[in-house]
Amino acid sequence: MDGSIKVKNLTKTYKGDVKAVQGVSFEVEEGEFFAFLGPNGAGKSTTVQILTTLVKPTEGEIFVGGINVKDNPEGVRRNIGVALQETGIDSVLTGRELIEMQARLFGFSKKEAKTRAVELLELVDLTGDADRPSGKYSGGMRRRLDLAMTLVHNPKVLFLDEPTTGLDPMNRKAIWKEIKRLNREEGTTIFLTTQYLEEADQLADRISIINQGRIVAEGSAEELKRTLGFDAIQLTFETTEEAEQASKVLYGIGENMEHSKEEVTIYTENGTQFLPELVRNLDEQHLSPKTINVKPPSLDDVFINVTNEEKERV
């Protein structure tokens, strides 16, 4: 057992010919921090469910820690830790009971399970609440408990499916800190899925972007930023006609443009420097936008660019 992940040509087709994942291939080295980035419904969760033995692939070769997921799912389960987005906990049991039970199911003796629970509760800062029913925990506490349960058996590979979605900044930082520590200090391989570009940027060595079941871009955060890192200038107009006109005037000015109804979005490097020129151009045509917004690219913006490029190539 090592900490690597190898996926070759993974395909998942659900009933009714719904293609959730279409021929995805990637490799993650032992000790690497890998992020799988994509919008809702891109195929992230399905991929994680397949890699963690919950769902069977339709096609493809998948090795987690050198073990074939199809041939030996139990072997895979012994070596991975999984915090799924929709993973729940039994709200009647206390945090301590849940961790102890988890440890017992991974083959710890009663005594070992007790010791392990004490360590983990300390680690995720839940010692004070260990003996309260987990149903009384706040969202952040529950997520921390979930992480502790995931770590019971010191997994070599950790799968985290949107671990910080819906968390407040403080809890998010706490989770980030802990997974960073696991990766840097314990050499745990991390496979993280997220919708947040910032999260992948902060944590991951390498990022794959998945859209509509396919990988559309891959590289380090820096590499991706260089190719995708435009600012988005968002203009809204009173009427659709005005927006239409504006999009004609501004055509070819930025790197890329999106136009829908009253809204025009232009992607360009250094959006703020670019702004005066843009406004002058509009002014000459007696067009004045209702609102102007300049922001760093959101994941949506990145996607629009990636998918547009895809279209152009076709």
Binding site: I80, E86, I89, D90, E97, Q102, L105, F106
Partner: protein
């Protein structure tokens, strides 16, 4: 291989223990059910016991006649709890969490069933004690009580198989809840209040013959009222064995689908 067996027993123990804790900490899981069953016993005994003067009852005590209804209704509630517990785990996502451990898959499903059976056993004993305090006499003696417990467990297991199967198939609380409505025809389209000869409507007579609960009622009544008689018991145990075979197969198939999604 013996190692694997060992793990299976330990896993089953762990899952059962957890299900029992869940039941104990949620008294609302079993108290309403127990109250309804005692309600049946007390109200029907109090209101209808006069009709046992009719010749069709052959001198039977009405308490002994109605007691099986109370026991069977408690059993359905207890066994149905197993399915409810699984639906709950499926809805909260704890079921996936358990599937991600190396635990035996069978043990994950067996835990709530075993807890449900224990709940049912304790409820039945409680009901029997109360019936004893009300003046119940068991014609077949103490051995008869054990037979009644065995019949109840068998019946509970059959119903647990049904409720678990529905739970794992639908994965949703409303559907599982709807599934428990089978309770009403099972309990009431039978020799619930009066012997077969006294049932008036033709359709109810037909339903009574088809309803497996009838054979369970008759088997228990034979023990309470007549002592040791072969045929009622043989029919009762046969019907239960058949039911268990059907529902447990159903739940096993549903379980294997639920634990390995395609």
């Amino acid at each position: 291989m013996s190692d694997k067996k060992n793990y299976f027993f330990v896993d089953t123990l762990i899952h059962s223990k957890r299900s029992i804790i869940t039941i104990l900490r949620n008294p609302f899981i079993f108290i309403p059910n127990l109250i309804i069953s005692l309600f049946f016993l007390l109200v029907y005994e109090g209101g209808l016991s006069g009709i046992s003067q009719l010749p069709a009852f052959e001198g039977a005590n009405y308490l002994a006649f109605i007691l099986p209804v109370s026991i069977v209704s408690a059993a359905i509630g207890g066994a149905g709890g197993a399915g409810q517990a699984l639906v709950n785990d499926l809805e909260t996502g704890y079921f996936s969490r358990l599937l991600l451990t190396p635990s035996s898959r069978l043990a994950i499903v067996l835990g709530p069933i075993i807890a449900g059976m224990l709940q049912l056993l304790i409820q039945t004993i409680l009901i029997l004690i109360i019936a004893y305090l009300l003046g119940l006499e068991v014609a077949a003696g103490f051995g008869g009580i054990l037979v009644v417990l065995l019949l109840t467990l068998g019946w509970g297991l059959a119903f647990a198989g049904y409720s678990v199967g529905i739970a794992l198939r639908t994965k949703n609380a409303q559907s599982a809840q709807a599934g428990t409505f089978i309770f009403f025809p099972l309990i009431f389209l039978s020799t619930t209040f009066v012997p077969y000869e006294l049932i008036e409507a033709g359709w109810l007579k037909v339903a009574t013959v088809i309803n497996p609960t009838t054979y369970l009622f008759e088997a228990m009544r034979s023990v309470f009222i007549d002592g040791w008689e072969f045929w009622p018991l043989a029919k009762g145990f046969l019907v239960i064995a058949l039911l268990c075979a059907v529902t447990i197969t159903f739940s096993a198939v549903s379980a294997s689908k639920a634990v390995s999604a395609d």
